[in-house]
């Protein structure tokens, strides 16, 4: 008997796909799985886990989610880690290394019982990566899940991270470009969105209109939207530049909507720069939304005419998949995971500059039927490739694979 939640997923992905997921989950019944990351709200990892953990439990699996606690110096350190792994110059100071180690030690003490007894532990990103070395009595398999674009990392910082993750049983990257030389297998699994979450369920036209009204965004002209944290790698200033170029030919509005994540101390600085750049232009709306404003983001995406994600580095653009799920073609930066999500002229455009984004904005606004056709393709592409059910299937398959040991690359179970 399928539960109501599983039936709802089945209606989206097909009941045959749901049966497959159940069949794989069956092989992991009785095992204890723990996910660990650094924030419960805000950012893609927290969003994925918010969906994946309940879905896993619904499949009959024993899954828990732990969040490490850190102070301001720790998150300043891990933000430097994040930026440096995405290629920014600089390195960690001795103080930052000390803060990183001490915070992991404190959390190791707190989580010891849960993690040492688990059959499988997923550690998300570098923040809690040092926990492995602090669990001498661990019995299960540990997997490091890297969500960051580490295709060209700052080498000294990568060496530090490598030291933390070398001992894991496996790691997961979103793309082959991100994989780094490590002594364990590196699996390639793309992140996903949840079609049943507040952010992605279908909304009525009335609700979309109401949300725009409440957020103070008039719907008198086409809306160009970027939803993302105020992070320099999301290039919000580049988006404003694109809008200014495109506006010479089209009467449009720009909405930059986002919020901070609890583990991102830099967002205030970037937000100030964005506000300064947007000052005096009544057609630009900069919206700072709370981390749980999922329905408002859904409405913004559903009502937008063109969705942009002009990142200059991107592990994987969840907002790209969200926009595509709402049948919108997406103009994305030609970087990282966006290369896998956006196929030029099929479901959007990949661009390398504000000028490139501007010309694609104009193109999509003036070619309505192509915009609609690409939107249909976009939805189907996400359905087949980037939904939470598929990602969970891959995670569970990975655990089954790890249990099989090194052996042959193909085997019957």
């Amino acid at each position: 008997m399928m539960s109501d939640m599983l039936k709802q997923y089945g209606e989206v992905i097909g009941f045959h796909a749901m049966d497959s997921l159940l069949a794989i989950a069956e092989r992991l019944r009785g095992k204890r799985i723990v996910h660990v990351n650094s924030t419960r709200a805000g950012g893609g990892v927290a969003e994925i886990l918010s969906s994946m953990v309940p879905l896993s439990r619904e499949l009959g699996l024993d899954v828990s989610w732990e969040v490490i606690e850190g102070d301001e110096p720790f998150f300043a350190c891990t933000k430097t880690l994040h930026n440096s792994l995405q290629g920014m110059a600089g390195g960690l100071s001795e103080g930052q290394v000390a803060s990183y180690t001490a915070t992991n030690e404190r959390n190791a003490e707190k989580l010891k019982e849960s993690l040492e007894g688990a059959d499988y532990v997923f550690i998300h990103d570098p923040q809690p990566a040092a926990l492995l070395g602090m669990m001498p009595g661990r019995k299960g398999k540990w997997i490091w899940r890297c969500h960051i674009d580490v295709s060209a990392p700052n080498r000294s910082v990568w060496r530090f991270v490598k030291k933390q993750v070398e001992g894991y049983d496996a790691s997961i990257f979103s793309l082959p470009d991100f994989a780094q030389p490590l002594s364990h297998p590196q699996f390639l699994i793309t992140p996903s969105i949840d079609p049943l979450s507040e952010k992605n369920i279908p909304l009525s036209k009335a609700e979309v209109e109401k949300t725009y009204r409440e957020l103070g965004v008039p719907r008198d002209k086409p809306v160009i939207l970027q939803v993302s944290r105020f992070d320099r790698f999301k290039d919000p200033l580049g988006v404003i530049e694109s809008y200014r170029i495109a506006r010479e030919h089209a009467d449009i509005r720009l909405v930059l909507a986002g919020g901070g994540a609890a583990d991102d101390p830099e967002s205030g600085e970037v937000l100030s720069a964005v506000r300064e750049a947007a000052a005096g232009d009544p057609d630009i709306s900069v919206l700072v939304l709370p981390p749980d404003a999922h329905r408002a983001i859904n409405a913004l995406q559903s009502g937008a005419d063109v969705i942009v994600q002009k990142s200059t580095r991107e592990g994987f653009g969840l907002t790209v998949s969200e926009g595509m799920w709402k049948r919108k073609p997406v103009i994305g930066g030609d970087v990282g995971g966006i290369r896998l999500q956006v196929i030029n002229r099929f479901n959007g455009f990949r661009v390398r500059s504000p000028e490139g984004a501007a010309i694609r904005i104009r193109y999509l606004l003036t070619h309505r039927w192509k915009r609609e056709r690409m939107g249909v393709n976009a939805r189907q592409y996400v359905l087949e490739n980037f939904l939470i059910t598929g990602q969970l299937r891959n995670y569970l398959s990975l655990l089954v694979t790890l249990d099989g040991g090194e052996g042959e690359w193909e085997r019957w179970i």
Partner: protein, 225 residues
Amino acid sequence: MNTTGANGPFRFMECSLLPVSTGFRAQTLRELRSAVPEIPESSLYYHFWGRMLRPHIAESEFNNDFASWADGGLGDTELAEALSAVNPVKCKDLGELRSILEDILEARLDQGDFLSWKKADREFYFIACKKFMFDTGKVTSSLEDFPVAVKTASRQSFFHHFLDGRRRSPEGKDDFSLWLEQFGEGTAEVRRLLGRVDSYLFSLGELKGQIVSILEKGLRKGGKK
């Protein structure tokens, strides 16, 4: 393992395929040529078969990743055409497929020095894979029910029986055709049509649609075994 029950009911199997980074990458034809002998067999499998299970669109012009990269990355259409002419199903194993690839790449390198150092726009990442297969427990014995059973099989199950089935069978036949053989002449036309389907130039969803359509039309008058 007898996966289909060629002389009994059709048992639906399924696979899970996970891509794994190999660490090998190439930006020139010479680098590609040097890596091919070194990569694990599962990487050859991934770039010819496994690609069907990863995000891709139906409009792929070529039937394997090497050909797609030669065209799109290296801009060498002639090489892309030669690589896309490789029919992996005709190879007795992945070792033979590797040799054929090596010969094509070597022959192309022999044709000019420029080709050996020309840099591609994007790197070719060699990806290996881990695959496991399992019995779904779904069974069908009736020709009448067969099209619906195939239609409601998961994409991974369809991949296993149709695309991967052709690789596993010494005669290059998919599992559906092999199972239908037991019904004799009555299914000969369906089997002929299944055998003619070009499996590499469509998305998995489109391919499944084609196969189901052939089964629905051809088995309409089928009966219980």
